[in-house]
């Protein structure tokens, strides 16, 4: 009796764990495996734009002076300001990343980091053109 029960347990365990392992392999095959430049290159709803944003911030954090007031912005979709702000805080630890409450009037904002979308503001002028966007500096 004991031996039969143990063999049922073993069969369950081997079959179950093989099933979950094959599901993991299927998931990885589906998402793709191999070298990518960022941690989100194969995740989320729009991995391409996420990857570009992270690479842009990485470049910008090297270019902008330490402790400067910076806003990371998507001028085309201001409803996602908070997301850009939070990602900027994490990826630009050397700078003072600020929330874009009033980009034209807040003197603490010295730089704007913007993706490839068109951006025009009379208070700012392009400062550096990067691979995945542009840094603007307050005039």
């Amino acid at each position: 009796m004991m031996r039969r029960e143990y063999s049922v347990e073993l069969v369950c365990a081997i079959a179950g764990s093989l099933l979950f392992l094959s599901l993991s392999i299927r998931e990885v095959t589906h998402k793709g495996a191999g070298f990518v430049p960022t941690i989100v290159s194969r995740t989320g709803l729009s991995p391409q734009s996420s990857e570009s944003s992270l690479l842009l911030l990485e470049e910008a954090s090297r270019a902008i002076p330490h402790d400067a007031g910076v806003v990371f912005l998507n001028p085309r979709d201001r409803s996602k300001d908070w997301i850009h702000y939070a990602v900027g805080v994490g990826l630009m630890p050397q700078q003072n990343v600020l929330y874009p409450h009033a980009i034209d009037s807040d003197p603490a904002i010295q730089f704007l980091v913007v993706g490839t979308d068109p951006f025009d503001d009379p208070h700012y002028a392009p400062w550096r053109t990067l691979t995945h966007g542009t840094i603007f500096r307050r005039k």
């Binding site: 029960e5 143990y6 049922v8 347990e9 073993l10 369950c12 365990a13 081997i14 179950g16 764990s17 093989l18 099933l19 979950f20 392992l21 599901l23 993991s24 392999i25 998931e27 990885v28 998402k31 793709g32 495996a33 191999g34 070298f35 990518v36 960022t38 941690i39 989100v40 290159s41 194969r42 995740t43 989320g44 991995p47 996420s50 992270l54 954090s61 908070w82 997301i83 702000y85 939070a86 990602v87 805080v89 994490g90 990826l91 630890p93 050397q94 929330y99 409450h101």
Partner: protein, 436 residues
Amino acid sequence: MTFVLRIVAVALCGLWMRWVSPVVRLPLVARAGVYVVGGLVTLAVEMILCSAIHLRWSVAALLVVPIAAGVASYWPLKKRVEGAIDEGPRPFSSIVLIAIAAISIAVLAIAVASGAATSFDLLLFWGPKGVRFAAARAIDINFLAASDNYLMHSDYPPLVPLLYAWTMLGKPALNWWGVIATAPLFLLLSTGMINGFARYAKVAQADAITAIFASLFAYLFIMNAVGGNGEPALIFFETLALCALTCTRTRADEHAIVASIALAAVVLTKVEGTPFVMLLLGSFALFGDAPFRERLRAVVKASVGPILALGGWIAFCAHNHLLDAYRPSGGALTMRALASAARLVGANASFGLGYLPWLIPLALVVVGRKRAALPYLIAALGYGAFLTVIYAHSSDAGVYVAWSATRVLLTPLLFFVFAALTASSTGAQAQARATK
């Protein structure tokens, strides 16, 4: 490299756990996880205390006390090593099962390394907090209190951001790849703990449970894309707490101090940690398979850590006017909302796999010692009820359930794995009592 060294230092900071009596008798694969949990709790407590007294963190200052305690723990050890487990060679089926577990964790590691197993929660919440804490060399109260950061939830348990801050301390940036690599690392350590504790307690199907746990959670970590988020850490700590209360040889309170430290980590990791502690200890006390006095002793000892940790954190937040999620709040709860939330949670609980993640551990319960599994099944049901009430309170249950249910359901699933583990045990504790 710094990241790896800092993670190794975490384990060294937990070496003092050797003082806790039965830890040195556990197999190395279990001890490794115990030391990492001990180290994380030690560092987190030090970092919170330093922040409370306005003392800036430094790597050296944080390391001094735990490393000294760890070194000192090697002296009076000779007597205690007696009784270490002595096992014969493993059967072929065990080797197959352990290989499946190892390959599953390797697949998770590949998913993480391919940028396919994390989500924006890391970039929006866990990571930024860690970065700001490291930059401020303290829990940055001004940052948490700022109205711009209200979505960072000022009083959210801080252990995971504190770990990230620890790895970045004195460095210009956070190692994001290292951070997401903690998911396979925590799963590897959790798997080692389950296997080591189960072998210590002479659980007949230790390797079978190990394989089910590792393959199931590797898949769910990939599916939920939780690399670098709080879930892998939470599951890691919950696993140790469950191991410590479940896998005993002599008395139910044998590992209660280890459970206490693991439960302290649980409540400091995510808000869902608190109901886990209450349900685990409550169901263990009421329905556990051991004499009532032993269970009571175990529960009393195990509850000290989480009470002190959560109490201390809430006091810190209250003192600094950071209370948010832990502030008491009310709200109308209707039967209709409850029924709707229960339906949504129930549908998501299938994980798109026809409820197989639940059914496979349950099959082991059915053929095993059902009575021993009871506390864990009841705790899982209780956790499901807790989730239902929380979702029923939310403004748009459908959105919240779709966003988070398959992640928060990992905890009741862990209860099911431990139900299978206890059901397949030989009752070594009961046998030990019988021979007294």
